[in-house]
């Protein structure tokens, strides 16, 4: 089966169009054009008035409060838990721990068996901050005090929690659905030897944390034999499935909802301990139980982007044509579960080089299991490769855009597959024009404004554009309104609004007559809000459901009171497509000012131009792109988890220690897009939740070099690093004190 090749998503269904042409038909008069038109968020009024309720905010009678107790040692075993005195404290209902907690089915996980989910199942402690008990009490205050009072004794063992590139435990992970195999094309050493210009540098990125503003929260209860949970997650259906498996329940007896989600960035993509513990507690106590993570607990229980150390070797002819690209990325995972940050993804699709080699190595440490975080792999990988490309441009005496343009591949450099579309050059052109790149003096340290040295930099960006199977249903009501049901999630992306626009066009109805209900596992399987695949995957299902509904409506004269419902499942359509190299692309530009006397770096402006397929809602799409770029700025200058060698814990596990960009750090940031027609997914949508962050750190680092003449290859570009590095020309290199 080949992919549908309809050129336009606004007319996906002849059935609906045909129905619409008959005035006597119950289907509404065909309208189109919702997609592509700016639309404020449908839940906007709820959000600006405080009426939108997030998972921890839905009231229940007899609600009990759970509070986690987490380990204080990095490795070892629980020797004892003194629950008795705590049970005697006011309001305490139960203390769950490995000796009395309900048993979980092992081997469950969204991405393969994940022992991270096996909380309170045994006495093993794999890292600081691992759940060792849940205290449940009548009030929040009582639960917190009791949790603090719980004495847990450990048999601690020596731990190994600090990542470094030369760690002897590094190994090559087995390829899998989530681990790309290492790639080899051509003879890298020979091509490097034959190159006129060579760059060989190491780049590092620190451990970074999603830090969504809404702490992970869940309330669970049993109602009429069904387990009902309201949870903060990116995909209610997948979470419900795993919940059922973990607690050995019939899948139909579990319902998970997540109406409003206060940010996620990957940290809510899989089932997390707060929900498991809430379910355990409600099962034991037979009353609703809410568990909310503290901010500190979020730094050990909901994943992180692991640190990377990446060596990049580039070799080129004097005209900039790449002969060799060698990218070796080292990272870490926990002892509990193997998560592999795929930092070489960027190298595998960006540039045509005669020889291309990628290597990924991992070491397992006594730390929490890392996880997908906004543009996993792409974000850290692009920092290394796009920084190296800038160094190559400098060495070759070329403009950084010209160097990249010279190395555009015809097909996927590793996969050999044709690109479904690749409009990177258009992004460069439009970006250079709007940013004023062509007037740039390429020499470093050429511009100054008072105490500030000024510089500009750019980088290329890419992110995979995937589609996953999803199901959707649409009900045509007797009143002429349509109700779409899909287990999508709106984690701040604007999905609820975008899907309404998509459904409206697919149904040929004005958006006001379309109601999209999301985030309920009872709506059936749907891909999660992740991987920049949500909207594209859901749109296809909704479009198919609209077509099916159109066919049904064409057969009736009148819609019955219960309405007419059609369903769609895109599993076969998605898997039936020919493989393609399908990606979104972009060009990032930044201007920075640097005070080398204080080490302060300020970003003055940023521009990103993207090729992201069809843009459904320009208002929220721009917000997502700018939001990604803002997180990229934060990654470049601020974010760094600092692990304490002695304890193995995180030394800065709060928002005063782990800095995310504040308002004052963020200048005018503009985002735009170029025409990028692509019907590999018939909706034409590529997804744009993640590409905004890709390449930003490199663009900023390259701008800092342009301002100061010093390369910063370690993120974040901290003031102490800038201060001690000074400027290449004034100080003749690093100053040590």
């Amino acid at each position: 089966m080949t992919a549908p090749t309809a050129p336009s998503v606004s007319a996906p269904s002849t059935a609906v169009a045909a129905a619409g042409t008959t005035t006597a038909s119950p289907a509404p008069t065909r309208t189109s054009g919702a997609v592509g038109t700016p639309h404020t968020r449908l839940e906007g009024r709820l959000k600006v008035t405080g009426a939108a309720r997030y998972a921890g905010e839905v009231p229940f009678a007899e609600l009990a409060h759970g509070w986690l107790v987490t380990s204080t040692v990095a490795r070892g075993r629980i020797r004892s838990i003194e629950a008795e005195p705590v049970l005697a404290m006011p309001g305490v209902l139960t203390v769950l721990h490995h000796e009395n907690a309900p048993r979980l089915t092992p081997g469950v996980g969204m991405m393969g068996p994940d022992a991270t989910l096996q909380v309170l199942q045994d006495d093993r402690v794999p890292h600081v901050g691992w759940p060792v008990a849940l205290v449940v009490a009548e009030t929040l205050e009582q639960a917190r005090e009791a949790a603090e009072a719980l004495v847990v004794a450990y048999d601690a063992e020596p731990h190994d929690a600090v990542f470094h590139a030369g760690h002897p435990g590094m190994y090559t992970p087995e390829p899998s659905r989530y681990v790309l195999p290492d790639s080899d094309k051509g003879d890298v050493e020979a091509e490097l030897g034959a190159s006129a210009v060579v760059v060989d540098e190491e780049y590092t990125t620190p451990q970074e944390y999603h830090s969504a503003m809404e702490p992970h929260a869940a309330v669970a209860r049993w109602e009429n034999g069904r387990l009902e949970a309201i949870d903060s997650n990116q995909g209610s259906h997948a979470v419900a499935q795993d919940l059922a498996k973990l607690f050995s329940l019939d899948a139909a007896s579990v319902r998970v909802r997540s109406e409003h989600v206060g940010g996620a960035f990957g940290s809510k993509g899989t089932i997390r301990p707060h929900l498991l513990l809430a379910v355990m507690a409600t099962t034991v106590l037979d009353r609703p139980v809410r568990v909310v993570l503290t901010r500190r607990q979020m730094f050990s229980l909901v994943g992180s982007r692991p640190a990377t150390a990446q060596r990049v070797r580039l070799g080129a002819d004097s005209d900039g044509r790449l002969r060799a690209l060698d990218h070796e990325a080292r990272t870490f995972s926990s002892t509990v579960h193997e998560y592999v940050e795929q930092s070489t993804r960027h190298s595998r699709i960006m540039y045509a080089a005669d020889a291309l080699r990628t290597r990924t190595k991992v070491v397992r440490l006594d730390v929490p299991t890392p996880a997908f975080m906004r543009a996993p792999g792409w974000a850290p990988g692009s920092f290394a490769v796009e920084s190296a490309m800038d160094e190559l441009a400098e060495k070759a005496g070329m403009d950084p855009i010209a160097l990249r343009s010279r190395n555009e591949p015809e097909a996927g450099p590793v996969s050999g597959l044709p690109f479904s579309s690749r409009n990177l050059i258009a992004c460069f052109d439009e970006g250079a024009r709007r940013f004023g790149w062509t007037d740039r003096d390429p020499r470093p340290r050429a511009r100054r404004d008072g105490r500030w040295l000024l510089g500009t930099g750019m980088a290329a960006a890419a992110h995979s554009a995937g589609t996953a199977p999803s199901t959707a249903s649409i009900t045509a009501g007797a009143d002429g309104a349509f109700t779409v049901r899909i287990a999508a999630a709106d984690i701040g992306t604007g999905a609820r609004t975008a899907l309404t626009q998509i459904a409206a066009d697919a149904l040929g109805a004005p958006p006001e007559r379309v109601r999209v209900k999301i985030a309920d596992s009872d709506f059936g399987p749907a891909f999660l809000a992740g991987g920049s695949m949500g909207t594209a995957s859901w749109a296809w299902a909704i479009t198919e459901a609209a077509a099916a509904l159109g066919e049904k409506l064409a057969l009736v004269d009148q819609i019955p009171a219960e309405g007419i419902t059609a369903r769609a499942d895109t599993s076969e359509l998605v898997s039936g497509r020919q493989p393609r190299e399908s990606n979104a692309f972009g060009a990032q530009f930044a201007e920075v000012s640097v005070d080398v006397a204080s080490g302060e770096v300020r970003v003055r402006r940023m521009l990103g131009i993207f090729a992201v397929g069809r843009v459904v809602n320009p208002l929220t799409a721009r917000s997502q792109l700018v939001g990604g770029m803002t997180m990229g700025l934060s990654m470049a200058l601020h974010e760094e988890g600092i692990r304490d060698t002695a304890s193995g814990g995180l030394a800065n596990a709060d928002l005063a220690g782990y800095h995310v960009a504040a308002n004052a750090d963020v200048p005018v940031i503009e985002a735009g897009w170029v025409d990028d027609p692509d019907t590999y997914n018939p909706s034409g949508i590529k997804g744009l939740g993640e590409i905004g962050i890709v390449g930003v750190a490199a663009a900023i680092a390259n701008a800092v070099w342009h301002a100061t003449g010093v390369r910063h290859r370690d993120l974040p570009i901290r003031l102490d690093r800038v201060l001690t590095a000074g400027t290449a020309i004034e100080n003749g290199g690093a100053v040590t004190h």
Binding site: G657, N663, A664, D720
Partner: protein
């Protein structure tokens, strides 16, 4: 957080008397630091005596020209006060450089002086810390200390004092007014904070049970030409990596009067008296400024990861004094 009693005091003697009723009592001002520390378990008072409603919320000019600032004046009101802005602009700038607008609306002058360090080990009750649990050790020495002290620390503690306001107050010779069971008394700020030594848990010279009632800034014409600059890892809403309060009076290229204090370098706001002595009566040149900074920083003993603070402070001294010299010339 364990349970505690709560009482509101209506006047100063009552507040002091209420505190004396329980050895584990604490005064509650704006609560921005204390309530946070209670949540993390660093503080666990049995009784809170709320002093926020005391009639100590005024800023007044005394007959001798000194500025008397009540202890419950909020950071916001202090920063916005026209007298403060006119006569001690560095104090306004220091206060505005701290925390956030909403925290400044809550935080009080008295509480600001008593802020605890933001050292991560101090705030994490699972870790040893000599300041929190005397004798338990100081993991920062060999651990994470890139924002710790370079001056006058000891092997028992290397934490810094987090206040911005205190740095400006130190530069302007502030005097702290207190009230004890014996009545009112005064403590110069220069004697308020105790050296770290082997008692990092004893941070100040307040007698037991004493309440801070206010701060007095003596009249100082030089303070009218003063600035505060703070360098930190975000452009706003972050504690300092280094900061400086400076006031300068230059006439015909000669330094007539100068005040200098540093923040985020020691367990207390650091008055740079050596640098002031080196500058007074000398030329107002970048070379002299650098030499003065070096004189002050000669005593610095950086650890493995905070050595950058030495050039940072030195560069800030030169930049700030140069700027003030140029402003004076205009």
């Amino acid at each position: 957080m364990r349970e505690f009693g709560y009482k509101r005091a209506t006047d100063v003697p009552e507040a002091v008397a209420l505190l004396a009723t329980d050895p584990e009592a604490r005064f509650l001002g704006g609560g921005t630091n204390l309530v946070d520390l209670m949540k993390t378990g660093v503080e666990s008072p049995a009784l809170l005596v709320d002093v926020r409603g005391l009639p100590l919320d005024r800023i007044e000019v005394a007959d001798d020209g000194a500025l008397k600032i009540g202890a419950t004046v909020t950071n916001s009101d202090l920063a916005a006060d026209p007298e403060v802005r006119r006569r001690y602009p560095a104090l306004t700038e220091a206060v505005l450089a701290g925390a956030s607008g909403q925290l400044r609306n809550m935080a009080t002058v008295g509480g600001n002086l008593l802020q605890r360090t933001r050292c991560g080990y101090f705030g994490d009750t699972a870790q040893p810390c000599n300041k929190r649990v005397p004798g338990s050790g100081c993991p920062a020495l060999a651990g994470e200390h890139h924002n710790h002290a370079i001056l006058d620390w000891s092997e028992h503690c290397v934490a810094t004092h987090p206040s911005d306001m205190g740095v400006a107050l130190a530069a302007f010779d502030a005097v702290v007014s207190i009230h004890t069971a014996d009545g009112p008394a005064e403590l110069p700020l220069s004697e308020f904070y105790l050296p770290v030594g082997d008692t990092p848990h004893r941070e100040n010279a307040l007698p037991p049970g004493a309440l801070i009632t206010g701060v007095t800034l003596p009249a100082a014409p030089v303070a009218a030409r003063s600035r505060y600059r703070k360098v930190r890892e975000r452009a706003s809403f972050a504690f300092a990596n280094g900061s400086i309060a400076a006031a300068l009076d230059v006439e015909d290229g000669t330094v007539r009067d100068v005040r200098l204090a540093f923040g985020a370098v020691a367990s207390r706001p650091w008055r740079a008296r050596k640098a002031e002595r080196a500058l007074t009566g000398g030329p107002a040149t970048a070379e002299a400024f650098a030499a003065a900074a070096d004189a002050e920083l000669a005593a610095a003993e950086p650890l493995a990861h905070n050595g950058y603070k030495v050039p940072l402070i030195r560069n800030l001294v030169v930049a700030m004094l140069t700027e003030l010299t140029q402003e004076a010339a205009r």
